[in-house]
Structure formats: C-alpha cells, structure tokens
Point group: C2
Chain length 289, copies 2
C-alpha cells in the first residue's frame, strides 16, 4: 500500500482510539489499542523505488481507460507510450494529456520505448521528450546511431534508457550488450532493464542489476516461465523469477527509478492479470521489509 | 504459484537445458544453466495450508462465473455457499454441481456459512453437508442450540467451524467468544477465524490464531482499514493487517486448513480486487518461505 494511505488508515484508527472508550463505535470486551495489536503491521519504510506501469501494457486501451484502471490499482507512475501521446503531439495536446494524468494523480515519469532508425528519428524522439517535460527517454537507437545519440543526450540533458528485448530482436538482446555499448559513454546513457526478456535471452537479470545498476535508469517488470526464448510472459508470481531477491537487490543498490509492470499476457483482457501482478509485487515488498 | 505449475515450468526449462546446446531455441552468448541463474527462484516447499475462496465472495455471480474466474486465478478450493448450491438440493443436483467443480479443478472443501436458528435448521444443515460429501460445515448455530449441535456433530462426524462476524452481529463476535463456547465440547467443534471481522471487533487475530489454533478449522482472509467497527474491507495488502506475520504463524502452528479469501469490497465488480488480493497473499507466501 502507498505510505500515505497507510498513514491515513492508521490515523483514522488512532483518532477513534483517542476518543473516550464509551464513545467508540464498539467498545469490545477484548479491545486492544492499535499499537499493541500484533495483527496490525508496523508502519513501513518508504521504498527507494516506485511501482509504475509501462504504457505498452495498455496497448489496446486508450489513456482514459488506462488512467481509470491505474487509479483503482493505486499506481501512480506511467511511462508514456506514443500510442497514447503521439510523437508529433503539439504543446496544446501535450498540456491536455498532462492535465489528464494530473487529475488521475499519475506522474508521467518518462516516454517510450521509442525506436530510432535515423538521426532524424533521434532528434524527433528527444524533442518530443523535451516537449513532454520528462528527463527520461526509453529508446532503441540503432547501434550505428550511438555516437550521434550521445551528442543529442548532451544537447538535451535527457537520460536515455536503452530498452533490451531479449531473444526476440537482434538489437540490444540483453543488459550486458547495452552495458558494453554505453559504459564508456556519457553517464546519462543507460538501460531499461527488462528482467523478463533478459532472462529469456539466458542472462541473469538479478546479477545484471547488481553489476550494471549505475546505468539502470528504468525497469520493465514481468515474470516469465523460464530462461529460454521458447518461454513466455505470465502473471507476476506465476513464473520462475525470484522477486523477493529482486526487491532486496533493488534496495541494496539503492535503485531509485520506476519498476514498471510490462504485462504481455492476454493483452486484450489484461486487468485481472495486472492486478494480480501488482498485488504480488506489493506482497513481496511488504514481506521483505 | 501452485507447486505443480512451478514444477511444470521448471521441468520445461530443464528439458530444454538437457538438449544439446545447438538445439536450444536461443543459444545466447551469456547463457547460464537454470540452476546457476540467480534470477530463477529455488523450488518452494509446499505450504501446510491452501488458498481458497469463501463462496460469499461471489454472491453476485453464478457458479459458472465463479469457477471460470477461479480457474483463471489458479485457485482450487471453494467453500460452497447456499446461493450456489441450495440447502434443499437433491442428490442429482449435488452430483451435477460437483461435476462442474471437478471439471474446473476446484475442490469444494466445505459448506457455509449456514445460520441455524432451530434444531430443525441444525439437522438440515448437517444433512446437507453429508449429502454434499464434505467434512466441514461453516455455521452459526444460536448459542442455545450448542448442546443440540454437539450431538449432531457426533452423529454425523462432520466438523463445525463457527463463523465469527465481529462487531456487526451479536452472535459470536470474536474468536475468544467461540473458543469459550467450544473449548469444553467435542473437538470437532471449532471456528472459522475471520481475521478481518475479528480485528474490527478490536481483537488480535494473529494472537488468537496462536492461542486457539487447535480449534481453527477454516479461515476467512480479508484486509481491513483498522481495528474498530467503523473500519471496512479493502484489497488484501491495502489495509492494516500484517500478512507476513500471519503466514509465519500459520506455518508455525501447522495450520492445514484453507485460507479462504472473503472479499467484501465492490462485490458487484470484485474481480480486479480479488486478483490483487490473491497476488498479494502469494507474494507474502513466496517472500517469507
């Protein structure tokens, strides 16, 4: 649960308990003050990271449906995908879009993934990120565009998180490949570590988070059925990924970015699966604090 | 995840890994065998308890909708509520109902809650449980019927789990009240510990599970916003209950019954909330193993 909700719930309880006992709704014989009741969990430390949603999760839904569902789920961070806010959006369209997000208490923390196959596409992507007002662009520039992209990163002072896609695409298959391509470049060039696709490539996502965390700017969270290409996405918790260790490592390396669910199963009817996945992740976080 | 699914997933991975490397779907450069890949969680010990659903959760849905959703959620235990299988069902109707459950890979592990306000209603409830073929009846006999109910428990050799309803009803408000009413009676008389209602009465559900576990035959799992009557049910994880401790105590006292979600928020549109709750509980279980 979000800390503020927890506090709200706790304070509501505390307010009732501070009333004279006879005024309480139900002065039960076994009444135990909230702070002495072992069933009530202690206040939780805030996590360094935050739970978010990769816009791609909602590819079959418009932004209103997306935000409505995110509000119900109590998730407040979204990586904006271009099918919700096209790359050629003008200032007015962007302002209207951002007003919707603000109304839903959602922060658009980045844009992407955006594929970039030419210098013009690199320029367009970064100009878009600047107009949207984010300092994180999740993107996939062709390898031969990395020198040019580095210049644009410096020009805009916007971080680039290169997205890896595992065995399904030749471009940036895993975290090691991205690391090798960015480690000697501007420190604003890093990766969006997709823990599921990285594992399906045969790589070790938890080890990679430890090794490369200085360049991990964003993460796509998903669960998968195994560590080969033949495996596929499932509800978080139903696959093979060790989420308890994942969360412990995020805390250890002080990952401060978003852990954004990219749910790729049943994409036309994803809501129950998304809710189950979010619940599982929150359960893991709660139990490992 | 269910152990059998985990094993299935693991074995699928193992089968691929036992093939010659060149035959694998994607012989990635960084390939790490599954058992050496720290991202893959170790095989989990089976829990002594099992996750289930209180039939009441689906009061606005018929048994087909209920089973369809339970299959999607991968939940296999249901406490049968009389709006799905009426108390006067005959053998044929019961057989048809049980065939539906079997087809959905769902075990009807008990019936109830059933309120019993006369000896005739006690008789009817136990005769129903016997026809259904379960050895657990979740029920609420009036206090003055407890002597008679004890005789019927012995006659049928069916366990009675008395359901507590917290501050909302005068009958059996909390676990201590049930304990005091059954502790000197036949050991087949115990309780369905509703951890949310018990807490809303001001009682300490985790302490009560430890104290009374020998007579806890069933549990209704829910989360609530605090420990007074004014508080209400929410998605598991969003309230105040310490589920990590709850699971640890269930293991410690070797609770072998069902932990059945009784979801009482948004009962006409409960599916996302149920999925989130199930996910949270599974995350808690996974992270505390």
């Amino acid at each position: 649960m979000k800390r503020r909700d927890f506090l709200k719930a706790s304070m509501a309880g505390a307010a009732v308990l501070s009333m004279p006992k006879t005024m309480q709704a139900m002065p039960a014989p076994g009444d135990i003050p909230a702070d002495k009741n072992s069933t009530i969990k202690p206040d939780a430390k805030e996590e360094p990271f935050h739970l978010g949603m990769a816009g791609f999760t909602f590819r079959h839904f418009d932004i209103d449906q997306t935000l409505d569902f995110m509000q119900k789920l109590n998730v407040h961070y979204l990586c904006i995908k271009d099918f919700h806010l096209p790359l050629d959006s003008n200032e007015e369209q962007i302002a209207a879009f951002k007003a919707k997000l603000a109304k839903a208490n959602v922060i658009g923390y980045g844009v992407g993934p955006i594929y970039m196959k030419s210098e013009a596409e690199v320029d367009r992507a970064f100009a878009y990120a600047k107009r949207v007002g984010v300092n994180l662009l999740v993107g996939v520039p062709n390898y031969e565009l990395l020198d040019y992209t580095e210049k644009v990163v410096k020009q805009y002072d916007i971080r680039l998180a290169i997205h890896l896609h595992g065995p399904d695409m030749p471009l940036y298959p895993d975290a090691t490949d991205i690391w090798n391509n960015v480690k000697d470049r501007d420190p604003r060039m890093g990766m969006c570590l997709d823990i599921g696709h990285n594992l399906r490539y045969g790589s070790d996502s938890l080890r990679d988070l430890k090794k490369y965390h200085t360049r991990v700017f964003d993460m796509h969270m998903k669960d998968v059925t195994g560590n080969t290409k033949a495996n596929h996405s499932v509800e978080v918790g139903r696959g093979v990924i060790d989420f308890a260790q994942y969360v412990r490592i995020m805390r250890k390396v002080k990952y401060t970015g978003s852990v954004s669910l990219e749910y790729e199963k049943d994409m036309k009817t994803p809501f129950n699966g998304i809710a189950e996945s979010v619940g599982y992740f929150r359960g893991i976080c709660a139990a490992t604090r």
